[in-house]
Symmetry: D2
Subunit: 477 residues, 4 copies
Amino acid sequence: MKTADEYVASLAAMKHNVWMNGAKVEKPWEHPQIVPGVNIVRLTYEWPQVPEHQAMVTATSHLSGKTINRFTHIHQSADDLQKKVEMTRLYCRATGCIQRCMGADALNALSIITHHADSAFGTQYYPRLLEYVSFFQENDLVGNAAMTDVKGDRSLRPHEQADPDLYLHVVEKRADGIVVRGAKAHNTLAPYAHEIIVLPTRDMREADADYAVAFAVPADAPGITMICRGAAPAVKRLMASPVSSRYASVESLTIFDNVFVPWERVFLCGEWQLAGYLAETFATYHRHSYCGCKPAISDIMLGAAALVAEYNGIDKAHHVREKLTEFMITAELVHACGLAASLKGQAMTSGTYLPDLVYANVGKYYAGTNLHHEMALLQDLAGGLVVTMPSEEDYRSEEIGEYLHKYLAGPSNLTVDDRVRCFRLVEDLTASKYAGLMMVASLHGGGSPEAERKAILRSYDVETRKALAKKAAGIEA
Amino acid sequence: MKTADEYVASLAAMKHNVWMNGAKVEKPWEHPQIVPGVNIVRLTYEWPQVPEHQAMVTATSHLSGKTINRFTHIHQSADDLQKKVEMTRLYCRATGCIQRCMGADALNALSIITHHADSAFGTQYYPRLLEYVSFFQENDLVGNAAMTDVKGDRSLRPHEQADPDLYLHVVEKRADGIVVRGAKAHNTLAPYAHEIIVLPTRDMREADADYAVAFAVPADAPGITMICRGAAPAVKRLMASPVSSRYASVESLTIFDNVFVPWERVFLCGEWQLAGYLAETFATYHRHSYCGCKPAISDIMLGAAALVAEYNGIDKAHHVREKLTEFMITAELVHACGLAASLKGQAMTSGTYLPDLVYANVGKYYAGTNLHHEMALLQDLAGGLVVTMPSEEDYRSEEIGEYLHKYLAGPSNLTVDDRVRCFRLVEDLTASKYAGLMMVASLHGGGSPEAERKAILRSYDVETRKALAKKAAGIEA
Amino acid sequence: MKTADEYVASLAAMKHNVWMNGAKVEKPWEHPQIVPGVNIVRLTYEWPQVPEHQAMVTATSHLSGKTINRFTHIHQSADDLQKKVEMTRLYCRATGCIQRCMGADALNALSIITHHADSAFGTQYYPRLLEYVSFFQENDLVGNAAMTDVKGDRSLRPHEQADPDLYLHVVEKRADGIVVRGAKAHNTLAPYAHEIIVLPTRDMREADADYAVAFAVPADAPGITMICRGAAPAVKRLMASPVSSRYASVESLTIFDNVFVPWERVFLCGEWQLAGYLAETFATYHRHSYCGCKPAISDIMLGAAALVAEYNGIDKAHHVREKLTEFMITAELVHACGLAASLKGQAMTSGTYLPDLVYANVGKYYAGTNLHHEMALLQDLAGGLVVTMPSEEDYRSEEIGEYLHKYLAGPSNLTVDDRVRCFRLVEDLTASKYAGLMMVASLHGGGSPEAERKAILRSYDVETRKALAKKAAGIEA
Amino acid sequence: MKTADEYVASLAAMKHNVWMNGAKVEKPWEHPQIVPGVNIVRLTYEWPQVPEHQAMVTATSHLSGKTINRFTHIHQSADDLQKKVEMTRLYCRATGCIQRCMGADALNALSIITHHADSAFGTQYYPRLLEYVSFFQENDLVGNAAMTDVKGDRSLRPHEQADPDLYLHVVEKRADGIVVRGAKAHNTLAPYAHEIIVLPTRDMREADADYAVAFAVPADAPGITMICRGAAPAVKRLMASPVSSRYASVESLTIFDNVFVPWERVFLCGEWQLAGYLAETFATYHRHSYCGCKPAISDIMLGAAALVAEYNGIDKAHHVREKLTEFMITAELVHACGLAASLKGQAMTSGTYLPDLVYANVGKYYAGTNLHHEMALLQDLAGGLVVTMPSEEDYRSEEIGEYLHKYLAGPSNLTVDDRVRCFRLVEDLTASKYAGLMMVASLHGGGSPEAERKAILRSYDVETRKALAKKAAGIEA
């Protein structure tokens, strides 16, 4: 396994084509609006070196038998799934989002669908994928999962779009590989990933066959352009944006302008029947991941809520305690789904363990549709200062700083500096661009609430329940 | 293990002192308003004989090594806990409530607290309890857990009540045992149980020491009077009350009028420090059980909802499908908590496995506070006929029956009889005394929502979350 | 205006063809399961005699200039609408449902649509209707609005049904009138009404023209059969069913088997273009009425909640006070909609005032989808005794009554009798057939939640809001 | 009445002591982070000149009989109150928040409490206030209501704080006036207001008498320092922050460092018994205002939601239409409360009309606790681009702009530019600092949800409801 510094060094050896705010970013790994994203990934290289974390954050490769980073592992048991969801919660308590889960989720989904494809269509994707997984594990790589197409008019299928490139598709098949064109949106971590793993975004029909394509390419492959929205700058600030200036995702809108992919990195190509299955399988893994990261957000918000109540002197109030309990209930309903999805996970034909689809979806759905309420609770406990507090410059000012030190005081056993820091934390978590990102990510990350509801409805065994009702009513089958 | 008939025969050999509607009930096991309760318990004797159910509904005694009914088992592993919660869901899909769980929950709780008492106070409760468990398993008994005192003025502690008997307490200690007086409320299954297992209902202080008492007595012990509210009569009806006339709980307000308990059946007596711990431990087990039974109710309601939508010809409507999904989400959030509580269950000092308190409480809380919404959804899909449908007598009437057969028709591929049955099912489930019972039981069974919130808040590790928030804010410990 | 006794006498002079439980009911107005319904209507004859109520419950006829019962009035101003909704709340605080509103709502809707029909189609419905209103006011009549057809397969339009009678329709047009066949469901109050006012239940297309029919007939017209589900018997009980044995609606499934209607009572006949408009206009009036009656239910439930908290000794607890506040918020959100719908009501072409459609629908929708939660709150505060309390016979028993008097005691300053009464009230309101009726009526009375959402969406001015958003975004029209 | 330019000129003639980001702001009315606030106030001077708005936004002074800006009016009727709440909605559809309401709300509250004080304590506050109102109307002034103290440790009363200045108080009484010290937080509009109207923030006890003080001072009075958090800069941007760069509030933390107030501007001084009443009366007026502005936010969000659905090509989807309906229901429940509070408003002893407290509180409470859900709905409909869309600089870039123009396309009948604008609008409304401000303002503006619940509970007539329940239960008073 690599060290964090080796990870950054390996980025420096690549040539990501990254743009931000209208300009080319020369050394993305050092850019102040990208460093908060790199910091997160660094952590995933650091913890495997920390003895107390090792049992959870590393695994034994079923290919090489070696100890590997769990983020490169193909899950071989329900226990692997449980460790993954618990590891995710642990990491995200520190970082909000750990990002690196998506590569693992993509590889696991591919390990199921390529195996399935080979038996259904006589292809040779699965052995190819195992080669790739070995390479991935050996080099301890970071993979971005590029799934969501830009989609254009969502009422139209891929091949019906006015511009055929609005979904990524194969534009040429050659002896040595394929050429693809299109764009993938919301690619968290792409500008500091080693690999881009591309998956189809939805079910396809025969006319969409060219769009049914999955593959991996180096993140700096010719033809790839990443246009990014940056995190809050990782400058030295004492108080403001305390979370998001240290740890925050960076997303890329990733353009594939006639990118060449050699056959040994192509994992689906034209088998349109499996596009939806692959998308859904990735989604199941990724929603399972959310059952770890969203409770971690609740953990931080609960902590902030308990803290700000103290800094306001209201921690004994009954309604405060009731509100704190809300965070607990939300966090554990979601995490319970993650654990249940693990416990009821099953081995697929390739041996890979897949979490239970219903539990993974129910957990993500509940998390996604309740975060806004948690934000409201935290803002409710904190009060108006969250948004009206003067700036740090005012607080440090020679002329007026004294006023603020006087009038921002809370209970006298607590320092004013810390009280200000606490409000800045609440601001960062609930009333900032970063908060906006968290809200939208909770809804749409891993799929929208509507997608989750549909997945649940489609896979749920309603007939068994109808039979129960018929029996109860005395209706003969 | 006994057969169902042997169970009933064993009841016939006892002399329960049962009253209902102002009159003594001579043979409770045959009384039409008690038979629906007996029917449920019969099922718990039948399924252990059914090969496909055996792995789930039986267990191996850790005392005798024999195969026993799982409802008499002391859980020895997380897997035992998982089987218990899954068994509960399976049974309750047929019966709504399986009742017999409470005896097992009481024995398991006692197996933890008696062990604890012996090491803390040098008592000999644990070996006594093991004797009792052996007897209980050997004879395949049904136990009622009598916990909730009538409580009088709830703002007062037990010893402060105007009448000292408003909480059950020890009134005399003799060489051979103790004499107790008081009343326990809401004792489901008591009139057809073999044993009454009495537990304290809350935490106690030193002045309440006489109220800190736990013991077991035969259900027909001298001095016990059961005053019951009956189920819907188990008469032969074609349509009405299709669930509750077959399977429904009967509750007793159980009076203990100077009841003698020999020392070998006394499991706590005066150790007031442990009263709350015992109450909470039983509650944890019982809330864990609810994570099985409440999803079963959702299963039945989902089935009824899907069915009634068909019988109305609206099953394709988008809003109908959305509403069906609500049942799924609710059911699985709760059941996920049951599974998670099992998976994270831990061995206590006696070796007994205890489900995770937080998950058990979160699951029961969510179930209890969402059933009313599920009822609303089912009524919403069914429409006004649920409550305005004329009686079965009208439907069978020679004079007017034809009108009803004509005008109660739904989609023409479905029979009118079945449509009427379907509405009667919805009525029974949502708009009847039985529905009232289900609603109140979902809120208060195993403890009220407020009790569950308090249990969560009390046991949740808030300090760890505050530390996360401090670190995120840059506040030094 | 009539007295209450004159009202009953006038029923005795009619020959309603009423059936219940498979038997013909000879004197409906005296039948113990119908008397609770008659009691409600009696009240609407009593209060106009009570000086303190007169200003609210009477009105001045715009036809005769005489003082009339407000339930026979055609609203002439926003103030009339406000008085109607406030009168409804006042009455329903006593009775739960006042029933008589529906006749007024039907007449008012007809006064708008007949006027509209006459100008659109050159018909003479409006003068006919005014004649009928004069007759109705003069005789201080009670009208049932028979709207909801039995509908058969709801995915089919009226003329597409397997049996053409599943929606009521004209089967013959004669010189002196029309003959109709079909059945109307959920006809509250029909067995003790003077008149049945029939309205179409939905929008129609040309092929459904025979189904676009509105008219009035005496409730005992030849060919009408009412098959009823009765209220709780109005027997002399000391405690049980304290509300529903005194005041409760009775519904009829009303069969029209070739009923003759003279032309002077026909108000729509074939003008299918107006069927939906009439249905929606009646619905708007009736949902406006719900903005009065549902807050009254909240009033009673709040009172019961505050009371039962006292009888349990928990009235000082913070969570109890929070729950009480929930009832207040729910009640006043709904009533505010009733007031706003009145204030923003507008005169239609006939001069009749129509409440604002959006506010009327929003209010009813909110009420209908929140009652179940209010029931949960009340059950939560009351506890398990709501459903496990032994019967009144047990309480009165010589043998065991003393036990109950002892063990059902609450705070010592309150009597046990009253505590039992209080729990019986909560049972009646939340855990009984009556509660089931209340729940379903809150959802479906005046139309289902889905119907209300559609009405809101259809009539809401979305374009104005889109223009606001475009302007805000800088998008040129 | 002034013109907008005269308003700005009048600011230029003053010397507000304003600080932002650590520096003194020399001409606040021109500062790019304050101009968005000034723009809002300008509008309140423009509309009174626009014929179609005049009837709503002007009033006739009850003092001078002249036509005045309604924001300087003392409400004389229920119709005045209705116009105020409807005017507020209309203005806020353009600006989000109109700010100027607070001055009117403060004057109206003072007109009630000063009158009350004079009769209770023989003071002469009311005539003084009328003088001030005349001056205010005559000069068409903008008033900031400075109410919320910084509060320090909220578990302590004003006089108990470690630093006595943590609530504003009188430090000296002189022959010509008083001297005050303290700080008021969250003072929207203060840096571009003419006057600061100070009110006590809560109920007081005798020991807090020095804190029971209300007065008005020019916003540039000596000793006042305003430390502000600015709005998004009002720079020329094509797309980003389209709302908040044009119209957004600016808040001040306003320091009163020994500020002198002449007696003729003192409206309460030491009458601690009335402090709570004044605070609550202002809150009632201000919550009533929220029943106008919050529906306006819903209006804009509904428009944005309908628009973004079109730009995504999903406007026909059923779930989209359901979500649009949610905004309508929320908006109109709140506005209905505003209308009902107006309709049921009552004249106080001074003749001033006060909106109904319960309706005003219920409406604000519902608005405040539902905005987060509306944000979730809007984000749900929009999708991930809300937060991951590259910057405007990227979109305009010569090198990569073409990619974005290609891949951000939606339905082909709509322009890409407009689609980008639409997403920028959603970002501004839901995922920005401005959105954070909106969320916190919805909760805490005019008081927190907890304050509103308490106000409702305290003033609601529970006894009448208990009497209803007793009567229903058969319990004798």
